[in-house]
């Protein structure tokens, strides 16, 4: 049975503006001891600007310190706090309760990631696939050898990839991707978007080796244009578009 707890009026951080409250449902699950997850429910006061992460931290502070959640920057930069919020993958620190337009906020761990405990998930697969596409500039010379101190780039050349360089490795795209759910070997939208980020970088010379890596049976072709990755990306990366651009190279429409 879920039990509803609420912060007493005098405990609220600012009683003057704590006029509204929301029912926060937190998924609790410890894979070592539990067979399935349970929801704990808390009534939490919130302001127009209160984020879901702040509400979860409120619960940790006032009701149950054992709720497991990963976070760091609280400003959509570190990519730690991805979770399902009312069923959709979002950053908890970048989602205001008021924008959800709901009296109930349900938080669960991201899909397609193994759960460590409660809301915290393992990122090994994301980091492995990211690493696999060689997320660095590939070229024979280095800036140490060349006369110029840096590899110059025109604003137009920067435009080609800068959007894709905004990725914070939060994994929301991989969590939303339907192929990731059944194909445990799929390279995934996050890594594919990063493959494009480097292939499109005028300083990079590793296009062919990178295209070879993604051109395999669990590579880029296992994307079926669902587009959910781009819908959930909090940084406007648009992995689905990067994937189509990469396909262009492999099908001979781009060079």
């Amino acid at each position: 049975m879920a039990q509803v707890s609420s912060i007493a009026e005098e405990q609220a951080p600012n009683p003057l503006s704590a006029s509204k409250s929301v029912l926060l449902r937190i998924s609790r699950f410890n894979p070592e001891t539990d067979e399935s997850n349970k929801f704990m429910e808390f009534s939490v006061p919130y302001q127009k600007w209160t984020t879901v992460l702040e509400a979860i931290l409120d619960v940790k502070k006032h009701f149950d310190h054992s709720v497991a959640v990963r976070y760091s920057c609280r400003q959509a930069t570190c990519g730690s706090c991805g979770m399902l919020i009312n069923g959709k993958p979002r950053l908890a620190c970048f989602t205001k309760i008021s924008e959800l337009n709901s009296d109930v906020v349900t938080v669960e761990p991201m899909n397609n990631f193994p759960v460590i405990r409660d809301l915290a998930v393992r990122f090994e697969r994301l980091f492995d696939t990211h690493h696999k596409i060689k997320p660095f500039l590939i070229r024979d010379d280095t800036e140490l050898e060349s006369n110029e101190k840096e590899f110059l780039q025109s604003p137009e050349e920067l435009e080609n990839f800068i959007q894709f360089a905004n990725c914070i490795k939060c994994g929301l795209c991989n969590s939303a991707c339907p192929t990731m759910t059944t194909d445990s070997s799929f390279v995934g939208p996050q890594a594919l978007a990063q493959a494009y980020r480097y292939v499109a970088d005028s300083r990079d010379k590793g296009k062919d080796s990178r295209l070879d890596i993604i051109d395999e049976s669990h590579g880029i072709w296992r994307c079926h244009f669902a587009g959910s990755c781009s819908q959930v990306c909090p940084k406007g990366v648009d992995p689905a578009m990067g994937i189509q651009f990469l396909r262009g190279y492999l099908l001979g429409f781009r060079s």
Partner: protein
Amino acid sequence: MKESTIMKIHYGTALASVGLVAVHILMRLTTGFSDSLSYENVLANYQSIPYVVMLELILILLAVHGFNGLRVILLELKQGRVYEKAVSYGCVVGMIALIGYGSRTIIMTNMGMS
């Protein structure tokens, strides 16, 4: 074979099928649909060499496309070295078997061995 080569074939067979199946349907429209499947008409169609060649092409294109599609679905459903090998070879065998059986029907009917 490279996955991109396979997928080029997959998209190519899909596009070619759209064209050929359109011709196939248009030719069926020359008679009413009920007449189209009457015994004599079916046999007569198989006597026309250009039409038979087209049917054979559609058979090959859609067998290649369909079985590769099935391979894709199965590869995404479950993973594992042995399983994936079985799926890949199984689909090639299925493809060849279907083309073989279909061709047998087409050739035998064309030669009047019904």
